[in-house]
């Protein structure tokens, strides 16, 4: 089976500043890739290029559609790309307020994608919303609450439910546990890991936290100054880091 997503020579510059450069890799169905690196190393830039939110300055991202066609993101029509983003992809933001509609209820947040693809039966939409809230461990009676009434951890779980309701095959996550209490982080990570396994989701997870990478991903890429300096199976990279920077990262973090 050909890869689900493949990146070839991705680079993005902001004027004279480098966001990321010369990045190539393949992601297979059901595989979880972690992108780690310090602040400013280009993780978010790369993720936004991969997910079609910004256009890379050079390079190509191609994706295997549900019907088997392999298409380059830039060759798709805008309508096709936006439909892909709303159905077969998910995007979980670090700041839940960016990924949610804060002005409407949790149920409407989860139901939105269904309505976007033509669901027109209120009762069915609401039932699907309640079902997905339960799957992210939010009690059904909170379905009509505003996300403003949710805790930080609940908002992240709501964001996940809102994305997964259309059963996407690929989810992009940018620091999904950033800014949360440690205990809340742990519960969220368990939940994400469970969902990813059960739904056989592919995911690209940006994090500066090696513990997140270790828990969620099978493969990881380490970035520094816009470039990938090391890549490999997560366990191997963490146990036997090759690049000096990775060695520093691993020794400083994992021993605490």
């Amino acid at each position: 089976m050909s890869p689900l997503l493949s990146a070839q020579g991705i680079g993005k510059t902001y004027g004279t500043r480098t966001g990321c450069r010369d990045i190539s890799f393949e992601l297979h169905a059901g595989e979880v890739l972690a992108i780690v690196g310090e602040s400013g190393s280009g993780k978010t830039t790369l993720l936004r290029c991969l997910s079609g939110h910004i256009e890379p300055t050079v390079g190509r991202v191609s994706y295997r559609m549900r019907d088997g066609r392999v298409l380059c993101l830039t060759d798709m029509s805008e309508a096709e790309r936006r439909l892909l983003m709303r159905t077969d992809w998910g995007f979980v933001h670090q700041d839940a307020r960016e990924g949610l509609r804060m002005g409407v209820s949790a149920g409407a947040n989860v139901g939105e994608r269904l309505m976007a693809v033509g669901a027109r039966h209120y009762g069915n939409i609401r039932a699907a919303a309640e079902d997905w809230l339960a799957r992210v461990e939010i009690p059904g009676e909170r379905v009509d609450d505003s996300p403003w009434a949710y805790s930080g951890g609940m908002r992240q779980r709501l964001q996940i439910a809102r994305n997964l309701v259309t059963e996407p095959r690929l989810v992009f996550m940018d620091e999904p546990t950033g800014g949360l209490d440690v205990s809340v982080q742990a519960r969220l990570l368990d939940l994400i890991r469970g969902l990813v396994r059960r739904l056989n989701l592919a995911a690209i997870v940006v994090t500066h936290d090696l513990a997140v990478a270790r828990l969620l991903s099978s493969r990881m890429m380490v970035m520094q100054q816009g470039q990938v300096i090391e890549t490999g199976l997560t366990d191997q990279v963490l146990e036997d880091p090759q690049a000096p920077y990775t060695q520093l990262l691993v020794s400083s973090v994992l021993q605490v």
Partner: protein, 281 residues
């Protein structure tokens, strides 16, 4: 300044041509919001300058104009717009729906069915139905272009979740000609069915927002809804206290300081015509 020093209907011919071009485009693409270079009018924006400009651009000396606000011809807004055109265009005006060739309106569509030789001009404050959920103009344009209208149902979903029913009663969104979702201006949803397959040309002008849109004669206009919460219009338990109509949109009127109330037709011309024909409660 005397009335004679104005060009016919106040606007100069070049401006009228510009507005007519926008109107033609609007008619060619039913429900699509056409940008136009809205002019300063000698009245504040909230007073219907968009509708006034559209009316000024289509008015001819042979026309007979009717102006209503909330269904009545004698409210301040309606009176001042009618006077404006009496003064600047010298056209005859009427309060009778059947005698008007152009009807400018705020908040209502007359009860009497419109004909194919009539044009109705709506004053629009906010033309963009997607504005509630998406404030960015670049994004709403894209959503219209790609027919991404899911968020309209998010709003209706939210109504039902909160109030047990679709609580939107004014400016109820509808799809025009199976393509563009539009805001029919703040008319009650009671009037939405009149938009559908209407023989008259329907024009919408938003002055402050600089948009014109149209529903050409006999165009399909479908109010948005859910399969299990179908679109419904308002109903009243009692008839009009003056003419006894059970078919018209009723306003609640407080009749004394003890809180006594009655329901009467909001369309005063419709009510008066029924009274002339002998209708009683």
């Amino acid at each position: 300044m005397t009335a004679q020093s104005y060009n016919f209907a106040y606007l100069n011919e070049q401006t009228k041509r510009m507005i007519r071009r926008a109107i033609l485009k609007a008619v060619a693409i039913p429900g699509y919001q056409v940008p136009f270079a809205s002019r300063e009018m000698p009245m504040p924006y909230g007073w219907g300058t968009g509708g006034v400009q559209v009316t000024a651009a289509i008015l001819t000396p042979d026309d007979t104009l009717k102006v209503i606000d909330q269904g009545a011809d004698d409210t301040t807004n309606a009176v001042s717009i009618r006077k404006f055109f009496e003064k600047t265009a010298g056209v005859p005006t009427t309060e009778r729906t059947g005698e008007a060739s152009i009807i400018q309106t705020r908040h209502r569509i007359p009860e009497k069915a419109l004909r194919d030789d009539q044009i109705i001009v709506f004053q629009v404050p906010i033309p963009e139905p997607l504005r509630f959920l998406e404030p960015r103009e670049t994004e709403t344009r894209k959503m219209h272009a790609l027919e991404e209208y899911g968020v309209m149902h998010v709003k209706l979903y939210e109504d039902i979740a909160r109030y047990g029913q679709i609580a939107t009663t004014y400016a109820y969104p509808a799809k025009v000609g199976d393509r563009y979702v539009f805001d029919p201006s703040p008319i009650p949803k009671f009037d939405n069915p009149k938009l559908d397959d209407c023989p008259a040309l329907q024009l919408f002008g938003a002055g402050r927002e600089k948009r014109i849109y149209a529903v050409p004669p006999h165009t399909k206009v479908k109010s948005l809804d859910f399969e299990d919460h179908p679109f419904e219009v308002q109903r009243w338990d009692e008839p009009c206290a003056i003419c006894g109509s059970r078919e018209s949109f009723l306003d609640e009127i407080v009749t004394d300081d003890k809180g006594s109330r009655m329901f009467v037709c909001s369309d005063t011309d419709y009510c008066a015509e029924r009274q002339r024909a002998g209708a009683r409660p």
